[in-house]
């Protein structure tokens, strides 16, 4: 059941054709905001302000923004550790995100989660998960809950091309197909899992998404350069979820400009050549592609673009300042947010000992 949107000019796809100028500019703005946020966080990481890992989303912006732009009230999102793009796309503020990277009390997870663990359930955003593919059964569960509650929504569950080799993903595909769960799995295929190219990690037929075929599930593959193409394909999958309550596995070709994480020094000249990165930047950059497109469409000027970019840059810089000036939470907060019942001091939370340091 390979599915493919047949138009090649994806601006003609109904979901794109009906976009207002404002909506189009918003798509562009969101992609630019993500890129500027990432670049700023890289700078701050290098300045020693941020700990742990930092997995940047630069180059992949069309995927998160394209998908999230299609979300209705009952559509939900969950992803892996490369989660800043999705977070900003669903409407989390740069301030709370940057403060989380700084490990500050004002961070979206109060400094408890860090880069890999952003969450905003009020915006239907369920993280941010560090264990490769560990979020794939959770995404299934979100879809399951929606169906259980009789809501016409879907869960979009993102993952990398390396993540497809974790077993729980196939357990999820089978259950999704068997139970007709409205979940859309989206493989952001950026060609590498850390230093391992797709060809060295996965055996497949025409593409990774085709593995869904054996589970009787709809699947498709599209290119992430053009946000219109992403939207057209994802829209179809969402409709399948909303209308038929059926899952889809979609693979989106994309590329990351930086290393796997900022600790990955091998990514230029090691497992991939500098030319390759340049080639993608020149020919497949989703922001530049969409910018050109919107200028062609006559809804954007170079000056406007500069304004958008400048605004995003300042917003990111301000977020860094906000994070820097925010306080670290007190030591006593280390044991908060472990148990609901303890935090609320319910009767359950007050009965028996929950923590064992003394």
């Amino acid at each position: 059941m390979a599915t493919a949107v047949t138009t090649t000019d994806f601006s003609k796809a109904p979901i794109n054709a009906k976009l207002s100028t404002e909506q189009k500019l918003k798509l562009l703005t969101e992609m630019v905001r993500i890129r500027r946020f990432e670049t700023e966080s890289l700078r701050q990481y290098n300045g020693g302000k941020i700990g742990g890992f930092l997995h940047l989303y630069n180059g992949q912006e069309s995927v998160a923004v394209g998908c999230v732009s299609l979300m209705g009230d009952d559509d939900h999102v969950i992803t892996a550790y490369r989660d800043h793009g999705h977070a900003l796309a669903v409407g989390m503020t740069m301030n709370e995100c940057m403060a989380e990277l700084y490990g500050k009390a004002t961070g979206c997870s109060k400094g408890k989660g860090g880069s890999m663990h952003f969450f905003a359930p009020d915006k239907n955003y369920w993280g941010g998960h560090g264990i490769v593919a560990g979020q794939t059964p959770l995404g299934l569960g979100l879809g399951y809950a929606l169906k259980y509650k009789g809501l016409k929504g879907a869960a979009m569950c993102f993952m990398g091309d390396g993540a497809v080799n974790q077993g729980c993903f196939y357990e999820s595909l089978n259950i999704a197909s068997l139970f007709e769960v409205p979940v859309v799995y989206i493989i952001e295929n950026n060609g590498y899992s850390m230093g391992t190219s797709l060809a060295r990690s996965s055996a497949f037929k025409s593409c990774l998404a085709e593995r869904a075929e054996g589970f009787g599930m709809a699947w498709g593959k599209c290119n992430g350069t053009d946000i219109y193409e992403v939207r057209a394909n994802v829209q179809e999958a969402l409709a399948r979820a909303h209308i038929e309550s059926k899952p889809t596995l979609l693979e989106v070709s994309t590329y990351r400009y930086y290393g796997h994480s900022v600790a990955d020094a091998n990514h230029t000249g090691g497992y991939r050549q500098k030319d390759e990165i340049e080639f993608y930047k020149q020919n497949h950059d989703p922001i530049q592609h969409y910018k050109r497109r919107l200028i062609e469409e006559g809804v954007l000027t170079e000056e406007q673009y500069e304004q958008i970019d400048e605004a995003a840059k300042s917003e990111a810089a301000a977020a860094a300042q906000f994070a820097d000036e925010s306080p670290v939470a007190g030591e006593e907060t280390i044991t908060q947010d472990v148990y609901f019942e303890v935090d609320r001091q319910t009767e359950a939370g007050r009965t028996g000992k929950h923590f064992f340091n003394d």
């Binding site: 989660g113 264990i131 059964p137 259950i175 028996g352």
Partner: protein
Amino acid sequence: MPLIEYRDALNQAFDEEMTRDENVVLMGEEVAEYNGAYKVTKGLWKKWGSKRVVDTPISEAGFIGMGVGASMLGIRPVMELMFWSFAAVAWDQIINNAAQVRYMSGGLINCPIVIRGPANGGTNVGATHSHNHESFLANIPGLKVVCPATAYDAKGLMKTAIRDNDPVMFMENTLLYGEKWEVPEEEYLIPLGKADIKREGTDITLIAHGRAALTACTAADILAAEHNISAEVIDLRSIRPLDEDAILESVSKTHRAIYIEEAKPFCGVGAQISSMIMEKIFDELDAPVLRITSIDAPAIYSPELEKRQLPRPLDVVEKVLSIC
């Protein structure tokens, strides 16, 4: 009070909580049409239908993770592991997702899930099927761990576990499913974190969880009848949260204690309780706190030998006599 099988007490708890809350859903392998491998969910699929009682494929990581995800959106899944031993294939979903999603989200997400099933040896099903995971799971902050020893406890604790807003790991015992205890007809709840003094005594405190609590009771009876020793038996019922007060109070009275459990010794629950007692009331102790556990090897199949591998009442009696 009617005498009810342990499995039926659980069954009543499910039925009552499903009536009370439409978000409670039972899931697991063979729980619906087959009535459960151990018939704990008998009749519930027939009564409640396929939406509320759901058979899953043999995909523990997949369906436990699905339950965790659904619980984040407010469903209250009660997930059966046909054996708790099979948690090994869903370990990541339990210790990372169920246990830690609240923390990593700074308290934004709750995970009101119950994961349940039998966790015990003694049924000659070999090493792969006879794990006791309670010490591992209770080590993980974010999880709660419950091990009822009687039908009464099982029902009261299960109802509380389902209403609890944190993930509760609920450990039953196949050797107890068919045993009967008095269970009241009117509704009752038992809080997590409250131990039960199953025998009162003055000379020594026997502390235990799960089926070992019954072994301790039998031992206490023998000690009273044959050795004139009055043993107090504390059944923890819930390992995390833990009723430390009950333990400390009792040992402060008896000055001697032994922990009995069916798990393996190294870093078991007994090690935790024993070292806690020493830390807190060292001066009250007239003898070292001792431990009785399963013999330290993988669970043996041989029915004759497996009987010997698990703690028996007479093992307890002997150990008590060594320090009383």
